[in-house]
């Protein structure tokens, strides 16, 4: 086995002597690449953002920005990483480096004040700069600057730039306007741009990794059978995909594991298939990958998921997070369970002996507990077809970008001739586990879709679960928001006729 190493800004850098739990951020900083910063250590601020070469959607390779503070450096064994230091082109001896187009726009437009968040912003912005789906909208760099053209809307620039690409980056100084202007002003990469060209080649293959030091180990098995055998041998192992949850445990709660097993690159868990009666989504696909692949296939379109993703954490998190992880942690405030409950999804659980299929409604057993055994992996999520046509996802939080739900409500309805034939409602944040609102569903089914029906169902919905008061919201507000979500959906379905 080749000694673990990461290609950083084109230079092979051995992982040793970092401990297996050391984050990519500390790995970089310990080697003098101090551009990436720690602002929060939990994937909220994006000051640590770096770009990683990953399998692409439209081209062989995408430059994908992730939170370096959450990912163990060992998880990047064999991978290619670019930091803010690697974006500028070194100048002649003694001369300043030539700035990357993204860096130039940020610098000239006042996009940096204290500068601490800036390298992270630059990496997130550069990744969006190289996104093939964006480049089609942009003029080549060096042509007329387009920052003064009207934006398509507040969140999309005339150059195709999706502001959600920066939803995982916080700035405390600028108020964001100059950063938005910079984002909406960048053109398309020039033809000889080395990072643009890199997209045309295959990404680095996942590397089977066994990185062990001082009694702890980071392991990346090559295939699913090997991974399942490993979990049977070492039931105490911590399973990680994007490490967006485990990274927080390591940083904030100082947890250390003897054995971490990475499953995010297992090919068996990275497939998406649209069958006649269901869609199967690999549990190790990142949320971004699911989002982009669903966008690309009309048949596979799941509108309720499309409503979920922009509200699910940030782009940086979605680039690492997986459905398997969101369900595996069993958190009662995860954003995907209410949606998947409303979609009546099932989970395919694999162990070394085979597979079983468990309806999501029967999966959670208690606070952060589920029927999944330690030697089992969630291999895939199945969503039955056809989908209910009327859907809504209401996430109640303080912030529209990148916040944790105080309450989340997902609704999927079939309404035929004005009568609700089928109602499925998933709730998060109101109990120890995500739950189905069965009583409210029953109050809707078979009834006419009228204000009176909605009002009585909303009353029932408001009494479901046992919401608590905490720093995010009061119990009263949480309860009120349950009923309001149904009333709001009703108003939206009747929008044409304001009452």
């Amino acid at each position: 086995m080749v000694a673990a190493r990461i290609t950083v800004n084109g230079k092979e850098t051995p992982l040793s002597p970092s401990a297996p739990h050391v984050t990519a951020l500390d790995f970089l900083r310990d080697r003098g690449l101090t551009g990436s910063k720690e602002g929060c250590a939990e994937g909220e601020c994006g000051a640590c953002s770096i770009m990683v070469a990953r399998p692409g959607t439209d081209k062989p390779t995408d430059w994908v920005p992730i939170n370096a503070c959450l990912v163990p450096a060992a998880a990047l064994d064999g991978q290619e990483v670019v930091t803010s230091e690697g974006l500028a082109t070194a100048g002649e001896a003694g001369a300043p480096p030539e700035l990357h187009p993204v860096q130039r726009e940020m610098a000239m437009r006042g996009g940096s004040q204290c500068g601490y968040c800036t390298p992270g912003f630059v990496c997130s912005m550069a990744a969006e700069y190289y996104r093939p789906g964006r480049c089609a909208h942009a003029q080549p760099d060096g042509e007329d600057v387009q920052g003064d053209e009207p934006a398509v809307d507040g969140e999309h620039g005339p150059n195709g730039f999706d502001l959600h690409a920066l939803s995982g980056n916080l700035c405390r100084c600028t108020g964001y306007r100059p950063i938005r202007d910079a984002a909406f002003a960048v053109g398309a990469p020039e033809e000889d741009d080395p990072l643009a060209r890199r997209r045309e080649q295959a990404p680095p293959e996942p590397v089977a990794t066994e990185y062990a030091r001082d009694g702890s180990a980071f392991l990346r098995p090559a295939g699913l059978p090997e991974a399942l055998r490993l979990l049977r041998e070492r039931p105490e192992a911590v399973v990680v995909a994007g490490s967006t949850d485990w990274g927080v445990e390591v940083n904030i709660r100082a947890r250390r594991a003897e054995c971490v097993v990475a499953i995010d690159r297992l090919p068996e868990m990275r497939e998406m298939r649209v069958e006649a009666d269901h869609v199967e989504i690999g549990a190790a696909l990142t949320l971004t990958e699911i989002e982009r692949r669903l966008e690309g296939t009309v048949d596979g379109s799941v509108p309720l998921l499309a409503k979920l993703f922009p509200q699910f954490a940030s782009r940086l998190i979605r680039n690492g997070a997986t459905l398997g992880g969101n369900l595996g942690t069993g958190s009662p405030i995860g954003d995907s369970p209410p949606v998947l409950l409303a979609l009546e999804a099932s989970l395919v659980l694999s162990d070394a002996d085979g597979e079983r299929v468990v309806p999501l409604a029967e999966y959670f057993t208690g606070y952060r507990q589920s029927v999944r055994r330690p030697d089992e992996l969630i291999r895939a999520v199945r969503i039955p077809l056809p989908l209910s046509p009327v859907t809504a996802f209401h996430k109640i939080a303080k912030r529209r970008f990148d916040d944790i739900s105080s309450v989340a409500v997902a609704v999927a309805l079939e309404i035929e001739d004005g009568v609700v034939r089928r109602a499925r409602i998933g709730l998060g944040g109101v109990a120890a586990t995500p739950i189905r609102a069965l009583a409210a569903e029953a109050a809707l089914e078979g009834e006419r879709w009228t204000a009176a029906t909605v009002e009585s169902a909303a009353e029932i919905l408001g009494s479901q679960g046992t919401p608590m008061s905490d720093h995010r919201a009061s119990a009263e507000y949480r309860a009120a928001m349950l009923g309001q979500s149904l009333r709001k959906l009703y108003a939206q379905t009747n929008e044409a006729v304001p009452s």
Partner: protein, 804 residues
């Protein structure tokens, strides 16, 4: 025009340019204090031993288990302090305390070969305490009569007579939250000791001289044995004005005792749980209006949550009192202030320094009273604006100069924003949308510039010209992103008459410029710019003598512009580098220290009267919001600002300050929520929002969808360097219009003319309850007298509003 404000021909000041470090920021090359660790050999790491109880006496501190942890080098305790065991200017902040005064108070620090070793060592230290009752909330402290520091009283006119003449008198109560600075770079320092025992501390500090002072008194050495340097900060916002000192002293003590470099950097959890924040306030008030809605009298008591030690609470409270008038003339007032002592972190400076709190009280009063008076809130505000030419003074007796600018920015921003037309559009929108309401509001700012404490209003600089004509400047101010260094380079280039590229700036160090004031109170440019200008003028005068003799002219007829000296009316030129070389060979001194003191200030803290401020920074803003009636969620649709920065020294920088300050203010007022465990359980006093995931800063989704900022034109300020005005803090307070627009949008769900109370911060939940109260007025057929915030666990912040 004053000498101070006058600009020469072709000045470099006034030119829009990016931040001097912008290229370093975007490439990641800019160095912050903790980045130096990776460039320094043999660094040891310090980690705090935090006690997770809000109050108690330490009965035992067992450091032995920590020393057994591999890699632990030493545990620092009170016994190690050679000087004074205190980290505060008020001598009420033991560095290694015997009494735990807030949840997370550090009682010892562990030094380790690695951060991991120091962390494990800190976890191994055994601390036993006798728990004592803890006052966690302002209400707790008020009930227990727990106060510290001064209790100022500000009086003007005759309040009793004013109320007697009032047609309407209202009373009310208002409690509102503080704010976490959340600079992206947490507190950090790196201390080294040289061969002679001299201590060199690199610290992320807004006040290097005071950091030096505390380090020297903790170490028990004179100030000349300690040098403090600040390369730059990753944000400060006041949070690094006084709070860095004790942390730096720990690193310095560790370096002294081990002989090796010692570094600390608080992680975010530590920074949030150990460092002070903006003061939350409680206010009770009584206000009288005449029949036209003009304020006749105001009585109020403001109680600031000072936390466990005084820190800067006294001057913060003083500034709060001095800003309760904001832009409004209050002829008769009696306003008392006091500082609650609670068992929480010691609250400290934060952009605005009490000013925002004082102003929020009056803006909240006007927003609540307007419907009671049957007036539109903007109309009520307009009727009460200070008017020029009437000799109006503030409640502390300072004449309101430039009152005409208060109305000028107000009218201009209304015009820029198209307020009249948009009001009609909003009314039409609201009539057509039962579940969504829009509203706009206009508010203004008048913010006094200068430290209330007169002695702080001085600045120093050191300017060096080398034989090749290159110039190096040093000044006492620190760079935290506000662009001070950019402006100082522009000031130096302007005064010397040379291109900007000729001037470089060296990091802020106490051995270059001594006895500096904090870079605070928005005064950085005024004070340090004045000092740099002064130093450069000394040098320029010397060089003009040299140039005069070279050019065969009287020195007073020589001008240096664009790096070339010319005599008036002649063609001969003398290049800057030749001039400098000539001066060197003529043995003319090519370095100068500059000094500036703000003239015309006086302040009597006892009578609470005087002229503490050199001038006022003025601005006005209009915000339009849209509120979802189902959830209380809202969007900030558009913001227009007209702000007075005098004649801008650096427009790109100033606009950045205006926008950034505004969004930070909007964060304080609408989103950011500090919540403590106020229950009686084992975690009483614990900060619940101690992470970025729970304490939410404004993100892209909170920036105004349309954001128009204009600087007031032809706005020369005679009393400041090159005619400019301070800009750091004032724009934060422009954000009151967001809160007031939310109040009006919530009210729009109720019957016309209904008034609503709104908690601060006005989170979606708070707005939802305001919407509900407005709606309930439909049902009840009357305006509600109070908002139905159901229980004490909810963000309070509102109270009874009753007509007396």
């Amino acid at each position: 025009m004053s000498h101070l404000s006058q600009r020469p021909d072709a000045p470099v000041v006034g030119v829009s340019m990016p931040h001097e470090s912008a290229a370093l920021h975007v490439t990641g090359a800019a160095l912050y204090t903790d980045d130096l660790v990776h460039r320094t050999k043999d660094v040891l790491h310090a980690y705090p031993v935090q006690v997770m109880k809000a109050h108690g006496r330490v009965t035992a501190l067992d450091t032995e288990p920590a020393l057994a942890v591999p890699g632990v080098v030493r545990v620092l305790t009170a016994a190690d302090v050679p000087g004074e065991n205190d980290a505060g200017m008020k001598h009420d902040e033991p560095l290694f305390p015997e009494e735990v005064m807030f949840h997370g108070h550090a009682v010892a620090w562990v030094i380790g070969e690695s951060l991991e070793a120091a962390r494990l060592g800190a976890a191994a230290v055994g601390v036993e305490i006798d728990e004592l009752p803890a006052l966690v909330t302002l209400a707790d402290a008020i009930a227990a009569d727990s106060y510290h520091g001064a209790k100022p009283l500000m009086e003007t006119g005759d309040a009793a007579a004013g109320f007697a003449e009032s047609a309407h008198v209202f009373t009310g109560e208002f409690e509102f939250a503080g704010q976490e600075h959340f600079y992206l770079e947490t507190h950090a320092a790196l201390a080294q000791v040289d061969e002679n025992g001299q201590v060199f501390v690199q610290s992320s500090t807004q006040h290097p001289s005071e950091t030096q002072e505390i380090v020297s008194h903790v170490l028990g050495v004179p100030a000349h044995e300690v040098t403090v340097q600040c390369l730059r900060m990753g944000g400060g916002f006041g949070g690094k004005e006084m709070q860095p000192h004790g942390f730096a002293a720990v690193a310095a003590l560790g370096a002294k005792l081990t002989g090796r470099p010692v570094r600390f950097r608080l992680n975010r959890t530590q920074d949030l749980t150990m460092s002070g924040k903006r003061h939350g306030f409680h206010a009770t008030w009584r206000i009288g209006f005449d029949t036209d809605g003009r304020i006749q009298a105001l009585e109020a008591t403001l109680t600031a949550d000072g936390g466990w030690s005084l820190d800067l609470s006294e001057p913060v409270l003083a500034r709060a009192l001095c800003h309760i008038d904001n832009t409004y003339w209050i002829p008769n007032a009696r306003v008392a202030g006091r500082i609650a002592r609670t068992h929480t972190v010691s609250n400290t400076a934060f952009r605005g320094f009490g000013g925002p709190q004082g102003m929020l009280v009056i803006e909240d009063i006007l927003g609540r009273c307007a419907p009671r008076l049957g007036l539109d809130a903007t109309e009520l505000r307009e009727r009460n604006l200070y008017r020029p030419g009437l000799g109006q003074t503030t409640p502390y007796g300072q004449p309101v100069t430039q009152a005409e600018r208060i109305t000028a920015v107000w009218e201009q921003v209304k015009e820029n924003a198209g307020v009249a037309d948009r009001r009609r559009e909003i009314a039409a929108f609201n009539a057509a949308h039962p579940h969504t309401k829009r509203a706009l509001a206009v508010t203004g700012v008048k913010f006094g510039i200068s430290f209330n404490l007169t002695a702080f209003n001085q600045g120093g600089a050191l300017v060096l010209i080398y034989k090749d004509g290159s110039v190096l400047i040093n000044h006492g101010g620190t760079e935290m992103g506000q662009g001070l260094h950019t402006k100082m380079l522009q000031v130096a280039a302007t005064t010397l008459g040379i291109p900007l590229e000729r001037v470089r700036l060296a990091p802020t160090r106490t051995d270059k410029v001594p006895n500096t004031s904090a870079t605070a109170a928005s005064s950085g440019t005024d004070l340090n710019g004045g000092a740099i200008k002064n130093a450069c003028e000394q040098l320029r005068e010397r060089l003009l003598q040299v140039a005069g003799s070279q050019l065969g002219a009287n020195a007073s007829d020589v001008r240096i512009t664009g790096g070339v000296a010319r005599a008036l009316g002649r063609d001969t030129e003398l290049a800057w580098s030749d001039l400098v070389r000539t001066a060197y060979f003529q043995r003319v001194q090519l370095s100068a220290s500059g000094y500036y003191r703000t003239e015309g200030l006086h302040w009597d803290a006892k009578t609470f009267r005087g002229t503490p401020f050199k001038y006022f920074a003025i601005g006005a803003a209009v915000a339009e919001v849209e509120v979802d009636g189902f959830t209380g969620a809202y969007r900030l649709r558009r913001v227009d600002i007209v702000h007075d920065v005098g004649d801008s020294i650096s427009p790109l920088i100033d606009i950045g300050q205006v926008e950034g300050g505004f969004v930070q203010g909007a964060g304080w007022l609408t989103l950011e929520e500090l919540r403590w465990d106020t229950g009686d359980g084992p975690n009483r006093g614990r900060l619940l929002t101690q992470a970025a995931s729970t304490y939410k800063l404004p993100s892209f989704s909170e920036m105004p969808e349309e954001f128009n900022v204009a600087l007031l034109e032809n706005a020369t300020e005679e009393g400041a360097v090159y005619g400019s005005k301070a800009v750091g803090e004032p724009p934060l307070m422009l954000a009151f219009c967001v809160r007031e627009a939310l109040r009006e949008a919530a009210a729009a769900f109720g019957p016309a003319g209904v008034g609503v109370d709104l908690a601060s911060p006005a989170t979606p939940e708070a707005v939802y309850w305001a919407v509900e109260s407005a709606r309930s007025a439909h049902d009840e057929g009357r305006a509600p007298s109070r908002v139905g915030l159901a229980d004490d666990g909810l963000p309070s912040g509102t109270g009874a509003l009753s007509s007396a």
